[in-house]
Symmetry: none
Subunit: 224 residues, 2 copies
């Protein structure tokens, strides 16, 4: 299901969006300020963000930059100001669309559909296989020699990031950012632990990894 994060400090707008989005079959998570937006985004991993610029704590552009630091999720900005400068600042900070209040709900929904359509166009090849292992990214399922292997949520996220970048070296910072979200850039012991668990579950010889190679001092690389 498509998950949408709605960020607004006005309860009535939050409620209106929640009702309309839920009626269209979206899963809705909300936040009332900038700090909450960044936290919820890191925890819930929405497929799209609707962001009001007039937040009580942080400037909206800062929120956009905070999100863009580690994710490329589509961002639709909602704002009461129709200033041309505000629009340019938000869009250049990394927003994908800008709608001024008051807005038509059907127009907003159409813009959301357009953004989601563009994002979902690049989702091909949900099946990745190497050796005895088959990874189904769409179904969140992993099999080794036909037998299903149970992965914890964190293990799965780590595997997904690696498998989506075959042959490419992923720095520890990059992996920590994409799996644990911002704020965990220094938890390298954690990354080592989960990499070991992944290898013990997927590698034929976990002591001598063949697919999930470590590049000392730099990061890890998935090599099919």
């Amino acid at each position: 299901m498509t998950r949408v994060l709605v960020v607004d400090d006005e309860p009535q707008i939050l409620r209106a969006l929640r009702i309309n989005l839920a009626a269209r079959g979206y899963e809705v998570v909300t936040a009332a300020d900038g700090a909450g937006a960044l936290r919820v985004a890191a925890e819930q991993r929405p497929d799209l963000v609707v962001l009001d610029l007039g937040l009580p704590d942080i400037d909206g552009v800062e929120v956009i930059l905070g999100l863009r630091g580690w994710t490329s999720v589509p961002i639709l900005v909602l704002s009461g100001r129709s200033d041309s400068g505000d629009k340019v600042d938000a869009l250049d900070a990394g927003a994908d669309d800008y709608v001024t209040k008051p807005f038509g709900m059907d127009e907003l929904l159409a813009r959301l559909r357009a953004m989601l359509r563009r994002g979902s166009g690049t989702e091909d090849e949900p099946l990745v296989s190497f050796g005895e292992v088959v990874v189904d990214l769409a179904a969140t399922r992993v099999t080794v020699g036909g037998d299903e292997v149970r992965l914890t949520p964190t293990e799965w996220q780590l595997l997904a990031v690696l498998v989506r970048n075959p042959g490419k070296l992923m720095s520890q910072r990059q992996l920590l950012l994409e799996v644990w979200g911002p704020g965990y850039e220094t938890a390298q012991g954690n990354l080592r632990l989960y990499m070991a668990q992944l290898r013990s579950k997927l590698e034929p010889d976990p002591a001598r990894p063949a697919y999930f190679r470590t590049e000392p001092g730099m990061g890890y690389r998935f090599d099919p």
Copy 2:
């Protein structure tokens, strides 16, 4: 260069857009009606389309559908009508953004930048090759005759600096600064060491370097 197709039947708008886009470094091609738009798009393959909905021959939504039949190029719709229904129809037909006239030129340009930024997510990998060696800067990988070569972080940084400046003489000071950072400008013994390791791993005859040449008293030069 980024190529933009502008479709409008009003000459003054066409002229204003052409001038502003050209001033920003875009290549501009134009069409004055729907049939021309489809023809020019097929011939010129623009990276982005700015489309006025009020065309004399074909309905704008039909033009969008005609484009979407064979290309996923981003489409920004320009329209005099601010009807909510028109927006929804155009967006659901496949448009990516919708701006109503009169529009601010800086806002329009910001929206174009946002659309182009999203599209360019799948950048091709920069590959540098010389002799048997292939350097993949995006994946952080080096192969010699097809076999992968393991490089330490410092070796890789040094190689990256050299490879990014082909044919250019890099002074020792410059190399030390870019690889080791400020404060190590005098550690020339270090630079000699890592240059030797790079040569022993990449050069066919490390004793007589062919690609990583040393200019006595000055620095080093990468010659593909």
